[in-house]
């Protein structure tokens, strides 16, 4: 199915992409605006970037977010891969239906429900056992791992179901133990999916406002929480500058990851 894109289709696509990118472009452009006002272009300036780098609250929050995201993505990668392996390779086991449901539901679970329920768990646990003592990076990370498992599992399961299983069977026939087959055959074959899943879990964690707000403690404000409280007060040029930096980082990351994956796949 190539060519013959009708003018109607091209126009619809153009509109779709304009819709997707207009707000992003506006944020980037106005981050370089010398004026504080959105509608007035007062010349090119980097002053908001300067102000951003001097903003200690944002710097601290960025570090908290990064720490949470690295723990969450790595935890979600390990557990999510196990989930995907179990769902793709074990057709039947006791409690499989519940397992599959629990692993998929967070994909679409409204954030407010996930955040509230985890907070209530942490409060009840602390009352009953004394752990976790207060809330902070650890509790946010646990919440984000639970969310990330679902996304890692979907990505990895798709890959596990699609590649040629005879490779695994051949290794087993030749006497390799199942564990060795997994590490020598399966793991390298699903590596691109693992990378994609890890990145996805990392991004979700860095991006989450609602679940983090519920599960955070007083000393663990994440970057989205700082952005949210300043955005509530209106449009802020510093936030435009921060958004632009995030956009550049994400674009570079996604572009290089997809190049890496394409190189590996062909």
């Amino acid at each position: 199915m190539t060519n013959r894109l009708s003018p109607f289709l091209i126009a619809m696509m153009a509109l779709g992409f304009v819709f997707l990118y207009a707000p992003i472009v506006s944020v980037v452009v106005y981050s370089f605006n010398a004026s504080r006002l959105v509608t007035v272009w007062a010349g090119f300036s980097l002053r908001w970037y300067g102000a951003l780098f001097e903003n200690e609250a944002i710097g601290r929050a960025a570090l908290v977010s990064l720490e949470v995201a690295l723990i969450a993505a790595t935890g979600a990668l390990v557990l999510g891969t196990l989930v995907a392996y179990a769902l793709a390779r074990f057709r039947r086991f006791t409690g499989r239906t519940l397992f599959a449901a629990m692993a998929t539901a967070p994909l679409v679970m409204p954030d407010v429900i996930a955040g509230l329920s985890l907070l209530l768990l942490f409060v009840a646990l602390e009352q009953a056992t004394g752990w976790p003592q207060g809330r902070g990076i650890l509790t946010i990370a646990i919440a984000h791992i639970t969310l990330g498992i679902a996304f890692v599992a979907v990505v990895v399961e798709a890959r596990l179901s699609s590649f040629d299983r005879s490779l695994e069977e051949a290794a087993l026939d030749l006497g390799a133990t199942p564990a060795k087959v997994f590490f020598v055959i399966t793991l390298p074959l699903i590596a691109p999916a693992l990378a994609a899943g890890w990145l996805l879990a990392l991004t979700l964690s860095l991006d989450d406002l609602v679940i983090a707000s519920f599960t955070a403690g007083p000393a663990s404000t994440t970057l989205p929480m700082v952005v949210y409280s300043s955005v509530r007060l209106g449009v802020s040029p510093q936030i435009n500058a921060l958004a632009t930096l995030i956009l550049i980082a994400v674009t570079v990351l996604v572009a290089s990851a997809s190049r890496l994956l394409r190189a590996k796949n062909t």
């Binding site: 619809m12 994909l107 209530l120 509530r232």
Partner: protein, 286 residues
Amino acid sequence: MSLRRVGVVAMPYAWLLAFFLVPFLIVLKISLAHQATGIPPYTPLFGDGGIRVTGENYALIAGDALYVKAFLGAIRYAAIATAVALVIGYPLAYGIVRAPQRRRGLLLMLVILPFWTSFLIRVYAWIGLLKENGIVNHALMSLGLIGAPLPLLNNDFSVILGLVYGYLPFMVLPLYAQLEKLDPALLEAASDLGARPYAAFRQVTLPLSLPGIAAGVLLVFIPSVGEFVIPDLLGGPNTLMIGKILWDEFFTNRDWPVASALAVAMLILLALPMGLVRRQLRGTAP
């Protein structure tokens, strides 16, 4: 169950039970408790030699017009946004599938890229565009198309626009996966048999893409119903959505039992569509 299987399944199973299922049971429990002053701000269910369960939180939700309106409002906003996302997303997915092979990867990445960038910042960006002295009004007025600024922000329009914008990639991706699997020979056959492009689309492409449509609709509708950020930042005083009401009950009113009852009610409402998601995703997986 072999030992190997137990080894693989046990850890993630225990994790999901502890941090996904048990929390809901606790929500259910607290939704049946009374509000109390103290830490935590609810009464214990067990104690004083008996079980003290109350349905008053649910009675409150069902009896108070505010909560009922918030539920209905969330469903209405989500339904409209899902329909609009389908109308915008379908041509986008269809166009990408039909684009030359070498362009497809780039076009698909252009759809995914906004999804990887901060949701919060993408929603925030619309404030600068839509507000009374914002970019859109400014542009329309300098072009002489309107005399006075249009009310674009903090109303139904901006909430639906935000929902469509935030969740559009979730519509396009399953549609793309489904349409990509479509065998071009089917369309050639239809054309050879005399079908005009529109008839071929309506009788071949559209029916065959239904599973993708279903997956996209679920992935946009469900999170939209529970959305908090969009009604909070783009909505106005009249925007009643259940996700925002739950947030306010919890953070502003500190009424944990009512917030829990709202969460349970929302889960019951979304249970059926959420149950369908896994099946639909499996069907459209590339």
